[in-house]
Symmetry: C2
Subunit: 348 residues, 2 copies
């Protein structure tokens, strides 16, 4: 691989000049410029990114921390992130933490601030202290989908109003006449989906129903989790006419459970999810869900991160400044498909 020096030699100029034409900085005469360009083309020169990174003191990659890229939601997000990054000349490194904070820390220690200029965090179950630490070490961190815009995490983040997503889903069921609604929350009791469930509780409370009486189950955020939870819920409460779910994967699982119990969806049971992943469109019946602006969130996250990278001055100096930036995406919106319907006659 030819180096910049060789190009310079070939063009009869100094490395500095080549560097200048290469990136449009400094003033270079049109004649030399052409000569250099020709030499570059002739030798097939390509800049050596690590060398550039070293000289510039900034790395050409961003790390995306996820628990597992195989989780069906992440790739859609990662795709959007990568596209946004590429437009800005950065590359994307995928870091699977397997939900293990130790693994996450190991990653951060290795690449944050060296190979990667910044870190995007997507539900990777990382230790917040580790993230603050990496910030202090000079690598900005952005949380990609913070659940509660009103309750900032003390770390820069892109927030989605998931509470309103929960509300929208619940209201939709209420409007269809459902009164006995079960809830499946795709995380631990105090987990990340709490805001979605809060929205649900608000909405059914506002409708005059006893939110506390609505059966709820916490379960892992997976198809299987939703399946098991739905089975349990429907056996314990055969009179339920609808299931509210804090995520699409569990919703899909719930639909399978319904099928296995011989319940027709939406004839006997309505099911609603949140997120609108691809699978939601493709399932049969197609899933009614509250769409979350994934691409927008990805773009905001990238923009925010790069902004923080450019403005090192604005980074937290010490433990003092807890006024981290919060970007909020546009609002989630309901997408009615085939998994929800009017409550069946006499089901109250």
């Amino acid at each position: 691989m030819p180096t910049l020096n060789e190009v310079a030699a070939a063009a009869g100029v100094t490395p500095a000049t080549v560097s200048n034409v290469l990136r449009g900085k400094g003033r270079v005469g049109e004649a030399t410029r052409q000569r250099v360009l020709e030499a570059i083309a002739a030798l097939g020169y390509r800049p050596h990114l690590p060398a550039r990174a070293l000289a510039e003191g900034r790395a050409p990659t961003i790390a995306l921390m996820v628990s597992s890229i195989a989780n069906p939601f992440y790739p859609e997000f990662a795709l959007a992130v990568e596209n946004a990054l590429r437009r800005r000349g950065q590359f994307l490194i995928i870091c699977n933490t397997a939900g293990d904070p130790q693994t996450g820390r190991a990653y951060l220690d290795q690449i944050a601030g060296t190979l990667s200029e910044g870190v995007l965090v997507m539900n990777a179950n990382l230790d917040f202290e580790d993230l603050r630490m990496t910030e202090l070490r000079g690598a900005p961190v952005v949380l990609c989908m913070w659940e509660r815009p009103l309750d900032p995490p003390g770390l820069p983040c892109v927030a989605v109003d998931f509470r309103s997503a929960g509300e929208l889903a619940a209201k939709h069921l209420l409007e269809l006449g459902h009164r006995r609604i079960g809830a499946i929350v795709g995380s631990k009791v105090y987990g990340i989906h709490a805001a979605r469930y809060d929205g649900f509780v608000d909405a059914i409370g506002a409708a005059g129903l006893d939110a506390a009486a609505a059966p709820v189950l916490y379960t892992p955020d997976t198809t299987q989790g939703g399946y098991a939870a739905a089975l349990e819920l429907l056996k314990a409460h055969p009179d339920l006419t609808a299931l509210f779910t804090t995520n699409d994967l569990p919703a899909l699982g719930a639909m399978q459970a319904a099928a296995d119990l011989g319940l027709a969806v939406p004839g006997d049971l309505s099911v609603v999810g949140i997120t609108d992943i691809q699978l939601a469109r493709e399932s049969r019946p197609a899933l009614t869900t509250v769409a979350v602006p994934t691409v927008e969130a990805a773009e905001l996250a990238v923009a925010l991160l790069l902004e923080l990278i450019e403005a090192p001055a604005a980074r937290p100096q010490a433990a003092g400044e807890r006024e981290a930036r919060v970007c909020v995406t546009s609002a989630p919106h309901l997408i009615v498909r085939a998994s929800t319907g009017q409550v069946r006659e006499g089901s109250l």
Copy 2:
């Protein structure tokens, strides 16, 4: 961020010594060793990867080229790749080509041989010439799932015997008594799934059926593609009792089409796929499919790539050496789930 020099100063040694203890090379006295280790811990030193890359002349990342990481098969593969890489101290960069050779080339030009030491290619629709070019520039390339072990591509690859996968799927249907079987091939006529279809043709030919008479449709390798193809096939040939599909996504789509046509799976129609992606387990009915050793393929691909990286001598010198390495994974195997069943009575 503290540098190696600072650590050296703190420990009262030279950078070279720190470098040596850092990576267990060279001989370092136990006393100094401890002193250095302490300094490292005290300062929170972490090696600067790009600097190391520059000095060593080798980059710490591998690029994975895919058409879109959002394709449900790729993340499963990418996860396995990333795990294998991490064990060997490399990081994974995701490159989405959107199926566009131009984009692919742009990626290769930018990172192959500079930021990334090697390239893994997964159906990214890249120009083989571009790949040979990157090889010549010093960045080994490995094709991740070559379809025809007997027909090597002239580039190092991990091959999977997809022909036998097609055979297994077909034989399974035949054993269940199916005789009127439609085929849905998830790619263009001369596309990557040809081997799978060849296996199918062989098997039904061997069973004494007229393979040429079996209805076949080519379609994009997506759920929608399979859905549309199945609809068309079933309308044109209402007497079909089974559908062979070259991939799971189209198979899933075919099941949806069956549902929409009021056909019970497997009662009225059996459907079989190839790959065994996660969704295959989770669909209702669960998809019978031929499992492909994804994780094994990922590990072999990584091992092969790193081997090629370590052995620069063995790289193709010019256009001469077309004896590129081919690794074959263990054989695909049938996984019977719920989407296939005995042919229905009197259906011949």
